[in-house]
Symmetry: C2
Subunit: 256 residues, 2 copies
């Protein structure tokens, strides 16, 4: 049997430690093809490049592994791989990450890492986004390796329900080993922003966005944030249909 | 009773015809405050500016109406308005658009227009994104006006369920008057991309993304695409929790 074809991308860019760590795992279980942004794309959400051109360049930073760096967004990378670079070939799995910084709770919406996985799921390809609760460029990914392998193997074997992607978040490396993996749901929470207002040398205002995460349900144990904070790997299956079916009934009662 | 405070934004930029049309309606029903991108942000998805600075400038293009142009994304505009420019004030409604081009079906995920509305819903503010099935810069918005007013008034009066935003799509202007409004769901479909591969003057490859929309359920009459194609206004309530609760049970049966 031929090896499964695994497309790898991320949002921190092709030179990040996270994507190298991910490739080191998936090259053991499949044929790897890499298309990743040529520069950091953090917070890129599900952006796509529709009003300008997209550029790619072959890269040899992963040795024998086929790799391209791309001027586009994480979602662009998946589209370009599927519809151009790998046109006609069946992609068995798309993996994205490992992201430097978690994508639990509402961060799934801002995340370029998860946009790439979601884009693959829109195309009907099984996909997983991996992230770690550590923003450091030199974050320690060693504890994530065996779990990444297990999740990828199980996803290839079982296949995900159509138009679904997994959002997998790891705790930061600590003394204590990871306690296990849990299938959970997206935590209800948000980022409360603080804007750091400054003045440029010409006296014009500008801002840095910052803020803190507010967890609306810190006691709930079936959530991705709880997993991360309690040294579990949290796995959330995500879908692409954003319709709130309950609210349809509510709105039908409105008098417009 | 004081007038409701309405924040207006979009993704086509502050100089687009769509936002001017939207403002001309909502200024009749509330106090209007505008924060919109200083350049087009189509396809921006739910991107936010975390790794660079955000710049704003007061604008007088809407006469007496308070308006700012912002270097950030549509989601940034909402965050900056809520947490800085309007800090301490209660925003009663956020409206985004009118987008030149529809955001029905899967386009809701790529849309900066809907990201702005979704961002407001994350903050607990009632929000509506408006889009029209006409990409032309000089699109005719006249038929959308009475419906925009009805949707805004009903949303202010009833309030949306928490963390919900409305995705409202209008058909292109035609001879036939609009038949009415329907509360529907997101169509199951996707954009099948075609990449137009070219060479730059230095012989390096580059691409333009293009493609066609594939509707997986053209017969379904309870969808946003059906509405648009049959001269109805389609209203889809959207949520921010992307968890697929059914898939949680499926995945719990996997052997990792």
């Amino acid at each position: 049997m031929s090896k499964p074809l695994i497309l790898v991308t991320n949002d921190d860019g092709i030179t990040s430690k996270g994507i190298a760590s991910l490739i080191s795992v998936v090259k053991e279980i499949g044929e790897v093809f890499v298309v990743a942004p040529d520069s950091p794309n953090s917070g890129m959400g599900h952006a796509i490049t529709v009003d300008s051109t997209i550029h790619i360049k072959k890269s040899n930073i992963f040795g024998d592994i086929d790799a391209y760096e791309c001027s586009g967004t994480p979602a662009d990378c998946v589209k370009l791989a599927k519809h151009h670079l790998l046109k006609g070939r069946k992609i068995d799995l798309v993996v994205s990450g490992v992201n430097h910084g978690h994508n639990a709770s509402i961060s799934v919406i801002y995340s370029g890492t998860m946009a790439a996985a979601r884009e693959a799921s829109i195309e009907g390809i099984s996909a997983v986004g991996f992230s770690i609760d550590d923003f450091h460029y030199d974050a320690d990914f060693s504890h994530t390796m065996p779990f990444i392998r297990k999740v990828c193997e199980a996803t290839i074997k079982n296949g995900l329900p159509k138009h679904r992607a997994l959002n997998v978040n790891f705790p930061k490396k600590s003394e204590e080993p990871i306690k296990g993996m849990k299938v959970v749901r997206q935590t209800n929470g948000f980022w409360k922003e603080e804007f750091d207002a400054r003045e440029d040398p010409h006296g014009r205002p500008y801002f840095w966005m910052g803020g803190e995460f507010i967890n609306h349900e810190p006691e709930s144990q079936d959530t991705d944030v709880w997993c991360m904070e309690n040294n579990y790997v949290g796995i959330v299956p995500c879908k692409t249909d954003m319709t709130d079916y309950e609210a349809i009934e509510t709105l039908k009662g409105w008098k417009f």
